[in-house]
Amino acid sequence: MSCWETIADYGLRSLGIGERLLPRDNFTLCQQVVLIGSGMLWNIYFGLISLVSGFFLATALALGKASKVRVLRKLAEWVIFLFRGSPLFIQFFFAYFLFLSLKGVSPVFDPFSSAWLGAALVLFFNTAAYSGEIFYGALMSVPKGEVEAADAYGLSGWPRFRRIIWPTLLRLSWPAYTNEAIFLFHATTLVFFSGFPAWQQRGDALYYASYFADKTFNPFVPYPILAGYFILLTLAIVGVFGIVNRRLNRHLPQERRARLRLRRGPLLR
């Protein structure tokens, strides 16, 4: 069987499209690369959906933590503490348990015990908590002068936030947020590993990597393939976030832009 056929058979296997049975013997390198790559679709899905949706909750949490209203502040602080303070591993366990109990209450909750929704929800809260803390830190360091200038121009409330505070907040937090995004994509490997069951052998990249490690009894081929995919994914994230970063900073003079880049390290999550 040529490698092209393998791609046709297994390229979308993780979504349930293509050959129903996984390869059982005479494993080729091509099969491993294709199936693990197919599983990467899930990692990318989980990462993207929780990153994009989590961004909004993160902003809300950061504002909540900075709020003068005690209830809002306490609520945001607790959400951030709960999700930043416990291992994702344990969060998945409790979420799965909770969704199963909710299923008994109403059929509305049925899809939540499947990974595509349940795990995405956990990752959404998890990344929102981490990014919320990053955004809060950046919000606290928005220069007072910028806010005062906005006041002087007669901006207040939503327009002031939208046009002055928010862009600066993003600019300041972007390097740390990049790191958070990398961590988030890495964390998606935990979904099927310890959290949610895999249905009909549709799993993520780690699921297929351990399938092959289990069948060939050789961990030294599938896991490095998985590692290679993630290095590529990480490079892609760094690239995309770098483009956004340049856009966020394009109004700054050259030398200050350079200085901002230097701060990337210390702001790691």
Binding site: F94, H186, F217, Y223, F230, L267, L268
Partner: protein
């Protein structure tokens, strides 16, 4: 543990619980809490050492060294820790044994790879097959620490690399003007100054490290998660004196409390450390007062 525990079936309520919570198996989970704390205590400085080495290498003017340092940071940071743990420990163990094999048994004929088997001479086994059980445990633990240190060393290297570059150039130039050599500048100015820039990143790294400890069981160390699963699973009366249904929720709940409490404690300590380090340092706040080294 207690004298009245000989016949648990007759017990109920608190006395049953006190017996249940002091079985040999439960003592193991209490010991494993210590294991996790010990791992953190050793890994943190070890990772810092790896990170320091990585950062210095990445800054090196020698291209091969710089590539090695940057490659280490980029590759290890780019891979999910879990994927790394799944094959790296076995590889590391084999590498160490192979080194010892080359040293101890130079006359060995044939390859260390026999089919799918990895075979080294008996003198090179790590630990020796004659060693006591606890030696094996310590060795397994040490390999786990080393693996953690390598992984988190890459993250620490990234933080320290950034921190070294964040030290104001003016300070280094001043030192140069005073006639200090490169080495002197590095030791007396750069390293003492960089910590304050590195601390926020290192604090975060510590938090991430704490939350990575549930992956220890992948490295063959019986940690709290292993025992929580083992103890929490449903037990039938045939195999235990303390049968119970699925109690994993309670055990994982205890783990949750443990991690939250540990995070809170870390936050308080780190906040205090940050304030101490920032005092009189050339940070944004301190710079206004003219900052001294």
């Amino acid at each position: 543990m207690f004298a009245f525990c000989t016949d648990p079936e007759t017990l109920s309520g608190l006395s049953w619980l006190s017996c249940y919570l002091t079985t040999g198996k439960h003592l193991s989970i209490y010991v494993s809490v210590g294991t996790v704390l010990l791992l953190l205590a050793i890994t943190a400085p070890a990772a810092l050492l790896f990170g320091f080495g990585g950062a210095v290498a990445a800054r090196s003017p020698l291209p091969p060294l710089a590539w090695a340092g940057r490659g280490y940071i980029a590759i290890v940071r780019g891979v999910p820790d879990i994927a790394f743990f799944l094959f790296f420990v076995i590889a590391l163990d084999q590498f160490l044994e192979w080194l010892r094999h080359e040293w101890k048994c130079p006359d060995w004929e044939g390859s260390v790879w026999q089919g799918s088997d990895f075979v080294v001479c008996a003198e090179a086994k790590l630990p020796l097959s004659t060693a006591a059980g606890w030696v094996h445990d310590v060795y397994g633990f040490a390999v786990a620490v080393l693996t953690f240190a390598i992984v988190f060393g890459a993250f620490a290297a990234n933080v320290l690399y950034g921190a070294m570059r964040a030290v104001p150039r003016a300070q280094l130039e001043t030192a140069e003007a005073y006639g200090m050599t490169r080495r002197q500048i590095f030791r007396r100015i750069l390293v003492p100054q960089m910590w304050v820039y590195a601390l926020p990143g290192l604090s975060n790294l510590w938090m991430v490290l704490v939350k990575a400890t549930p992956l220890l069981f992948l490295l063959g160390v019986e940690d709290i998660v292993y025992w929580a699963r083992e103890l929490g699973g449903a037990k039938t009366p045939r195999f235990t004196d303390y049968p119970h249904p699925d109690w994993r929720v309670w055990y994982f709940g205890a783990l949750l409390v443990f991690y939250l409490a540990f995070t809170r404690l870390s936050e308080v300590v780190l906040a205090r450390l940050t304030r101490r380090l920032a005092r009189g340092q050339a940070t944004l706040g301190g710079a206004a007062q003219g900052g001294s080294a």
